[in-house]
Subunit: 369 residues, 2 copies
């Protein structure tokens, strides 16, 4: 357990802020965490901090919180830590809630900065359609197989589907939650969050024991966007928290992506609206998502050298499961079955496609390269 | 029958050009149709015209063509005619095939310029899905009910669905074809084209008897775009003629619109690609199409004064059929059923919604205003 003076100060400051606090961040930047904590304890505060922090300022629960995070197998990651993903927060703009977190309470032993170095947020409605679940699986499996971390919010629906598919791929995933990482929230996801923490991370900017609240979900959305290269919304209704995450992604200078669907589906209304308003770019596949996240590191070759049919067929290859037949690839790519039959052996020679019986899938080495 | 000297000259020039010809258009602009026709007959041609026009230049079939167009109940509309939709072609840019037509061979008695004054092109794949047919019906019925002409290409699939729904709405529709308007092409659409010509128009820039050919389909697409305020692609595959029409719409300074669909559907691949590339804007309803075509003349009120839920519910009301129930409107709009129940009576008071039993639809007067 880390109980040196600075750690105790960070734990105290994190709980005093209970979310983003530009004024507190500025104070810490100016005088350091130990002095900032002393100033708060002794009520020597700059005006903007006085009202917000004084109530909680009286009780110092830093020892208790550091004890709790250790007991649930976690730690407090602070800007002192080499694991602090500082570069990710550089883009934070102005505004009341746009400050970086004071510190991160983290469950799981993986490195925060490593995991978040190549990460993609996949979020969406709590009540997805079968189509939404299917597309989540397709996109997450493709993105995870290419070596990217899936970040989501641990909520019902698209969030849970994204975490589960990543875990099923044997891939690591990060759940950013709106309460203490020691709390099983939602209760039905206690086991899912345990599994996420086993290989990946459960992250929160709230101290252990802090319960979820409306404002914290919005602040949590900002953290999801900040920890990810791009944010993908698979399905979102007319009013959806996913739109808030997209707003954050854009404010942080990151790309927001949205998946289209039937114009009759209420769970695609939010995605269509974001695409129409220019808030998010349309994506239809893991290939599109990877192209947006890292256009220089596409999992298969340089598509500029290729004819469009070849790119379309390569993008239509599933990255998991037993593979699919030529007819299905033709359907998914929009390329004639006869052309698909001509293109697949070429992709196989290039090490990008693999065949078993009549079923084709993307070759693993191509994904990770 | 119009057999004065100028009409004969226009008929001759139209057949000599057989499609757009910037050089011939320039010659006609400079010396008038009669003198241009004489120059071609007597081979006194400017260099750019010599090769292209001389073969056909020898035979003058203008009397025969004017006779044929009269026999099939049509006429030749020329730039001399007050019905010439000249304003529509002002935006034509440079390039080999971007000239306005020399003249228009027209079947049907309706006015070309009147019909095309408020017109929307609805085009797409020859092999649509059930979803594509359904969305075509929804969009065309809404747009037609608001008093707009539906322009399409008379082809199989989305084109035919668009014409049929417009006719079923009791609305006029225009088929722009890639052959002489006297030819039933495709043969299976002979009756459909007859019906289109009865209330609306079948239009071609090719003289009677000229058969359809690949280049003419592309030139025809340019004419569809030029005669319409906006072009909507409902469904389009990976390679689709609809994309060519969209290219023309944009080149002519008009908006192109595309409908999204399932990312698994081959018939939405082209639409998604155009939206992603910024070639077309995403639309999900007749309301979206009308907003793009005439943002100042929305069929229901000024949406800027309204809360988003009210706009969404109004847009979800069907314009035809017996209407739909609250649950269905909730599903289509993405608004809670309880809120839909609160909003509908308000829309009814404003004269925009009409109820019969438990089924709601858009009020007719609201559409046409």
């Amino acid at each position: 357990m880390n109980t040196d003076e600075r750690s105790l100060a960070w734990a105290f400051l994190s709980h005093v802020a209970q979310g983003p606090s530009p004024a507190l961040s500025a104070l810490i930047d100016a005088v350091g965490p130990v002095e900032a904590a002393r100033a708060i304890r002794e009520k020597e505060l700059p005006t903007p901090l006085r009202e917000a922090a004084l109530q909680r300022g009286r009780e110092d629960r830093s020892v208790e919180h550091l004890d709790a995070i250790t007991r649930c197998g976690g730690r407090l990651v602070t800007p002192d830590d080499p694991d602090w993903p500082a570069f990710r927060f550089l883009a934070f703009g102005g505004g009341a809630s746009s400050a970086p977190p004071i510190a991160l309470w983290v469950r799981g032993s993986a490195s925060v900065s490593d995991l978040c170095d190549r990460s993609i947020a996949v979020v969406g409605t709590r009540a997805p359609s079968a189509y939404g679940r299917y597309v989540t699986a397709e996109i997450v499996s493709g993105v995870a197989a290419a070596g990217w971390t899936i970040v989501s919010g641990g909520a019902f629906g698209i969030d849970a589907a994204a975490h589960r598919v990543a875990l099923a791929e044997g891939s690591i995933t990060v759940a950013v939650v709106a309460c203490g990482v020691d709390l099983p929230y939602p209760a039905a996801h206690a086991q899912l969050l345990d599994e996420v923490a086993r290989s990946g991370l459960v992250i929160s900017e709230y101290a252990p024991g802090v319960s979820a609240a409306k404002q914290r979900f919005l602040e949590r959305n900002r953290l999801i966007a900040a920890l990810s290269e791009v944010t993908v919304v698979v399905e979102a209704g007319h009013r959806s928290g996913a739109r808030n995450t997209v707003k954050w992604a854009r404010r942080l200078g990151r790309q927001a992506l949205a998946v289209p669907g039937s114009v009759e589906s209420a769970t695609s209304v939010g995605c269509h609206s974001m695409i129409r308003q220019g808030e998010a770019s349309l994506v239809t596949s893991a290939h599109d998502v990877l192209a947006a996240a890292a256009p220089m590191h596409l999992p298969f070759g340089d598509s500029s050298d290729r004819e469009p049919d070849e790119v379309a067929v390569a993008a239509a290859l599933p990255t998991r499961g037993a593979g699919v037949d030529v007819e299905r690839i033709a359907q998914r790519s929009g390329v004639d079955a006869a052309r698909v039959r001509a293109i697949l052996p070429r992709l196989e020679l290039q090490g990008e496609a693999r065949v078993s019986g009549l079923r084709w899938r993307r070759a693993k080495q191509a994904e990770a390269s």
